[in-house]
Assembly symmetry: C2
Homo-oligomer: 196 residues x 2
């Protein structure tokens, strides 16, 4: 990679992801990242003060890609019920794709996720906020009820109730026969539970 | 233990659970079980033909205790909606108790569960059948709808939608502050989704 390109945080994070993919989370070092970029490790440390900060940032970037992908469902336009189903289907598809398409990278990020629980908590908050936005639109349009616990708690309940289809702890189930039927049955139960 | 007592399968399973608790799943042997019972290992093998068969039977016994505990909710009497909530609350309580009360034994059974996926599948079927029995009563009484996918698929959806509160993969969350609120919000969403 040309060292003459401006060294941005984004370029460092891209290279870090690639280094993690290649060497695994136990062996990847900041020196490996610097070498991949053709820069000194001091240049990397000017953007990320510690190895831990770099690993946290790459974890956040990896997780938050989902939030970007799901934004069209969260923001609309479109009927709230369809957007919610679309959001859940798209999240399940993204997760299956990550788990099935590149199991080594998935395993790597499972290690990073274990190290960075605060990043995961923030990420879950972002996803729950997207669900809450759809629910609020549905309540406004009279198709959803706010629920006994308010929109945010109900959004969290939707996220929790569908966790078999997005939590990496369940990734081993995602290639099982019948998993799509199980998914549709849960989505149907949940959307019925939201009806005004 | 007195070797003169009749050596039953149940006594062997009790002793096996104790031996597993003491030595862990990697080290526990059939000889340890025989020694704990004061019998020869041949006597144990007359009841369980292989070590694998013994481990499978002890796993099944451990899991199926939940089914016995939950039977009053499954069979009634009582209104279906209350029985369903009671069943879900009781299962969550049993799981938290196992995870919090004896983490070593829980870890041991996590290993055994990993070895015996057919036992786990049968156990899940038994639990789903209990939910289905409650749903069928609710449909008969006009308080639940059968759902778009039929009673058994809906029962499975109820089981899946609440898995954050019974699947050992989520055991680390069960002592978190707010977990009871999360549980109640999911149960509320699910029971609303079942309404006729």
């Amino acid at each position: 990679m040309a060292a003459t390109e401006t060294l941005t945080a984004e370029r460092i994070l891209e290279a870090t992801e690639e280094v993690l993919r290649r060497y695994g989370p136990a062996k990847a070092t900041v020196v490996d990242v610097a070498r991949a970029l053709g820069v000194s490790h001091g240049s990397v440390y000017r953007h990320f003060r510690t190895k831990a900060a770099l690993r946290e940032a790459v974890t956040e970037r990896w997780l938050e890609r989902n939030v970007t992908e799901l934004r069209p469902y969260a923001e609309g336009p479109g009927p709230a019920a369809e957007r919610l189903t679309g959001w859940l289907e798209h999240l399940f598809a993204l997760k299956r794709q990550k788990a099935g398409g590149d199991p080594e990278l998935m395993a790597t990020f499972q290690v990073l996720i274990g190290e960075n629980s605060a990043v995961v908590d923030r990420h879950v908050e972002h996803l729950v906020a997207q669900i809450a936005a759809v629910l609020a639109d549905g309540v406004r349009d009279g198709v959803f009820a706010a629920g006994d616990h308010g929109v945010t708690a109900t959004a969290r309940a939707v996220f929790d109730a569908t966790d078999r289809f997005h939590d990496p702890a369940h990734a081993a189930d995602w290639a099982a026969p019948g998993i799509e039927d199980d998914f549709r049955a849960v989505v149907s139960l949940v959307t019925r539970g939201l009806r005004a």
